[in-house]
Amino acid sequence: MAYNFKEVMSKPERLAPGHRMCAGCGGTIAVRMVLRALKEGDKAVVGNATGCLEVSTFMYPYTSYEDSYIHNAFENAGATLSGVETAFHALKKKGKIKDDYKFITFGGDGGTYDIGLQSLSGAMERNHDMVYVCYDNGAYMNTGIQRSSATPMYADTTTTPVGSCSNGKMQNRKDLASILAAHDIPYVAQSTFTNTMKDLYTKSEKAIYTPGAAFLNVMAPCPRGWRYDPADILTICKLAVETCYWPLFEVIEGKWILNYEPKKKLPIEDFLRSQGRFKHLFKPENEHLLEQYQQEVDRRWEELLFKCSR
């Protein structure tokens, strides 16, 4: 079915307004868009790892979720939802419930790349019929911008602060989508907010309606942690894709598919310059760091092209 932005955006919200997430937060944009991909009338149980999203959307006695919702802890969104999904099958088998359900859980990169990796890996390997969505903003934002293994190289965070002896985080970011693809699950995709949300919407729809385990890695910028004007979020997402910092791809039944190839790959500086966390890289004495950054982006892009048989 052709993507119709107007139609998609006029579907009823499943994350009600009134929650306490920041203006310009990528996390809530991701949640609203993923949940929009549910067909109207289809029931879902939504899960959450502890993080900004959880503490801001389910503050007792209020919930923003129109669907049934479970938060358990930081590191176990995968395991928790695998229990819910299994209960569904058990109760269905015994004739105790009639309706069908979809199972979708959201975790930030801290709860997904780091502390929740084991629980996620287990749930995916067991191939529960669920979607795990990582809204990746590249740091522990809820606790105040500490580095995670998703934090990009040289980012200034509160545990990798830039100083006279430090250029920020020294390591490359973990390639989680590849790790999940290596689980040989039916569907893995990486997305962000581009192309009037078509990429994220269609991938969410595939993830939700593909039987078995699915993983979506969604770059979801954080104005507080990345230090940009909230109005610039879509520009930043576009630059992430056009510089090949955040490529859009899918891995369907083990087959890698590149969804978008920029006609003219933009230099990584264009993406980095848009954010305060990389400000130090633009000092004249740090020119070599930018060169190194470009090399790393190029290396990963070439690797991806190879995987996608391009």
Partner: protein, 393 residues
């Protein structure tokens, strides 16, 4: 009709699970509880039950998935021991505060440091304040019976708390003894169907569980857990009475063995009670009024009832099978002493440690303890607190 069999404690609990036929069981292997999920998996593989088993990748995930399944509306359970329980620690509190009526079949084993696969109670005693009901067994029969009664308590509308059904690692879990089993039909009728009030998969009423609740609401949550724990006392006794009707076996918060006229008593939990009973039989033959109070229900803690049962005793030794590292007493010692104090009971109480990490506890050990209590009672010996029984010299 009761069925006479020979079974280990693990077999007995697994058989109980088969009879109850719960909906979901996530579990992860750890000695000595591993056999329970193994046996359940075999029942499933042979089509004997339709429980869904989740072979999770850790104990943290087994409790997480049990919580998810229970919140979804399923009758759920898991099994573990020792470090497995320690790894679940965070989740234990969440299960209790979410008021989920799930069950954990715990096979008690020493916590690592150094690694030790044998029995003590440091695992479950470490979790004693997590908001879980805790019931302990002396033998395979009690492990089976306690499991059959578990859901009747946890799912009761006045309780809605999770329960740890504990048995001693290897001593109970692996030793094969005679057992009386109930007919499956009788068990299913007794346990009944689970009809949760609120659950995630209720299409008429979606539910949100696991909120962020700061200072304006957190304290009320804890007060409600406290009330549920208090309510559990009545529910446990009611369920015990009903269970006696179908099984002929009578249970309460604790068992009194030769206690009503005893001058010297031991208080303990678990399999060592059997050894102590043998010692009591020997001592009674010699005219010594020895008795035992074996705690079955440790959470909720039956403080007033224990104090009332002990208040006529001259000297009591409260026996802990786990260290507290408070540099004073162990958990049972501290709580029983507090109960005696609150009741104004004039009883000399000593608190000893025994069986730590599976150290043998023999009939001779028990007799020697009673001998000491006699000497303390007649003033020839001063009470010595916090001794380790059976420590290498």
């Amino acid at each position: 009709m009761s069925i006479r069999e020979r079974m280990s404690g693990n077999e007995a609990v697994a058989f109980g699970i088969k009879q109850v036929n719960p909906d979901v069981m996530p579990a992860f292997p750890i000695t000595p509880s591993t056999e329970i999920p193994q046996m359940v998996s075999t029942f499933i593989a042979n089509g004997e039950i339709d429980t869904e088993f989740i072979p999770v990748e850790s104990e943290h995930s087994s409790m997480s998935a049990t919580i998810g399944a229970s919140a979804a509306g399923a009758r759920a359970l898991t099994a573990t021991s020792s470090c497995g329980l320690a790894f679940m620690w965070e989740e234990l509190y969440i299960a209790a505060s979410d008021r989920l009526p799930l069950v954990l079949c715990l096979v008690n084993r020493a916590l690592t440091g150094p690694i030790n696969i044998n029995c003590d109670h440091s695992d479950s005693m470490g979790a004693r304040d997590s908001g879980w009901l805790q019931v302990y067994a002396e033998n395979n029969q009690e492990a089976y019976d306690n499991f059959l009664m578990a859901y009747r308590v946890t799912e009761h509308k006045d309780v809605k708390l999770p329960m740890m059904v504990c048995q001693d690692g290897f001593i109970t879990s692996h030793a094969v003894e005679n057992i009386n089993l109930l007919e499956t039909e009788t068990v299913r009728k007794f346990v009944g169907n689970y009809e949760p009030e609120n659950y995630l998969l209720n299409s008429d009423m979606p539910m949100a569980i696991g909120p962020y609740a700061n200072s304006p609401f957190y304290m009320e949550t804890k007060m409600n857990q406290r009330l549920a724990m208090k309510n559990a006392k009545k529910v446990i006794l009611d369920v015990c009475n009903e269970f006696a009707e179908i099984s002929g076996r009578h249970y309460g918060f604790f068992e009194e063995y030769q206690l009503s006229d005893a001058d010297y008593a031991l208080v303990m939990i678990g399999s060592a009670a059997g050894t102590t009973k043998d010692a009591i039989d020997n001592l009674r033959e010699a005219g010594i009024k020895a008795g035992l109070l074996k705690i079955r229900v440790f959470r909720p803690f039956p403080d007033e009832e224990i104090a009332a049962a002990l208040k006529h005793v001259k000297v009591v030794a409260i026996m802990d099978r786990s260290e507290g590292f408070s540099a004073t007493g162990g958990p049972i010692g501290a709580e029983v002493k507090a109960a005696l104090y609150d009741a104004g009971a004039d009883v000399i109480a000593v608190n000893y440690f025994y069986g730590i990490g599976g150290r043998d506890y023999t009939v001779e050990d028990a007799e020697a303890i009673y001998q000491e209590l006699i000497e303390i009672g007649n003033g020839t010996k001063k009470p010595e607190q916090f001794k380790y029984i059976g420590l290498r010299k």
